[in-house]
């Protein structure tokens, strides 16, 4: 449609999708593993049970999606926070590299780790 097809809409799409994922999944996950289990409010699942859940292909796929998109969400938002909050838009290039590069690296790591789940 456009002569140059800017990448910005795609990044925003990832950012938005990640925003939704984080908002839907993270409150429960973080509440359980970050607070409820450590404080003993609830008993953590035993190992076999958890392994069974995590190793299910569907879980892995969902987790990969959630992790990757959420990282892109972070990358996009953090990039603008740096621009606006610290007024360092002139460092544009390096910020982009750090943010989106980080998200890509994170995605690869996640894929590797989820691949390795027995």
């Amino acid at each position: 449609m456009y002569a140059r097809r800017p990448i910005e809409p795609l990044l925003w799409l990832f950012f938005s999708a990640g925003g939704v994922m984080a908002a839907l999944f993270f409150p429960a996950i973080l509440f359980l593993f970050g607070i409820a289990f450590p404080l003993g409010w609830l008993a953590p699942p035993n190992y076999d049970h958890l392994l069974a859940v995590v190793s299910h292909p569907l879980t892995r796929l969902v987790l990969l999606g959630v992790c990757s998109l959420s990282l892109f969400h972070w990358a996009h938002r953090f990039r603008y926070t740096l621009y606006d909050g610290l007024q360092i838009k002139h460092l544009n290039e390096s910020i982009n590299a750090i943010c989106y590069g980080g998200a890509v690296l994170g995605t690869l790591t996640a894929a590797y780790l989820l691949w390795k789940v027995p």
Binding site: R5, P6, E8, P9, L10, R77, D84
Partner: protein
């Protein structure tokens, strides 16, 4: 409630000073008075050198935007008595260069407005003899809200992103672009998208949302911009999936 109120009015006189100072005026404060009545009282009775813009006195011409206690407001639609016992601080709109006292420079917006092509774009004009373009009340509703903008610049003054980057096209201009895009008579959406997907366009906005909060006409520029982003993303995907069909 006291019947007097003190106004601290920002003054900037380019010939005399390079910084803004404040003058204090003690004014009567009848319950009908808006901030603009206070300023007119100062101008007519106390200090004729105060400069500010106003015209309609009914919240529709968009001239009298200023900061009242730090908030972007229309001076003609903001009651003094709401700030009793005062004092009230009146300053020029934030994020704009100040020409004098409460008068800011808004030529920047005027050129941005032209850039987004705020007129009906059509491949083929329908001749007048064929009558009106039919448009149902529902279709009218689609863009009506975005056509309510009075160009008062309160949203620009509230938007920190515009403050940081004056090149950002900004809330009202993008809302007006949406106003035409969503009009069933218009065919210019693609042209406008071209302009707005540049760097200073919709992607500059980080959805601070203050623009919508201060808008006296409920235009919701923040919504207009986010909808634009969504639309742009959808089109990106479409063009990616069906490179030919999107042409």
């Amino acid at each position: 409630m006291s019947d007097h109120i003190t106004l601290h009015v920002a003054r900037y006189r380019p010939e005399k000073a390079s910084e803004t100072t404040f003058d204090a005026f003690e004014l009567p404060c009848p319950k009908e008075w808006v901030v603009l009545d206070g300023l007119n009282h100062i101008k007519d009775r106390m200090d004729g050198t105060l400069s500010y813009r106003w015209s309609c006195r009914m919240g529709i011409c968009g001239s009298c935007g200023m900061l009242v206690n730090g908030e972007p407001k229309l001076a003609c639609a903001t009651f003094l008595s709401d700030y009793a016992p005062g004092p009230v601080r009146v300053e020029p709109l934030r994020n704009f260069p100040v020409i004098r006292d409460l008068v800011v420079e808004m030529g920047d917006f005027m050129s941005k407005l032209t850039r987004i092509k705020p007129w009906i774009v059509r491949q083929v004009e329908k001749p007048l003899s064929d009558g009106e373009y039919r448009q149902t009340p529902g279709e009218l509703d689609e863009y009506k809200q975005f056509s309510m903008c009075i160009n008062c610049m309160l949203c620009y003054s509230a938007c920190p992103i515009y403050g940081l980057d004056p090149h950002f096209i900004g809330p009202a201009a993008i809302a007006l672009a949406q106003r035409y895009n969503l009009d069933s008579r218009d065919e210019g959406a693609a042209e406008r998208m071209q302009i707005l997907s540049e760097h200073d366009g919709i992607w500059g906005c980080t959805f601070v949302g203050e623009c919508t909060k201060v808008c006296p006409k409920h235009v919701d520029p923040a919504g207009a911009i986010q909808r634009y982003k969504l639309q742009s993303a959808v089109e990106w995907v479409k063009a990616f999936v069906l490179p030919r069909a999107a042409q």
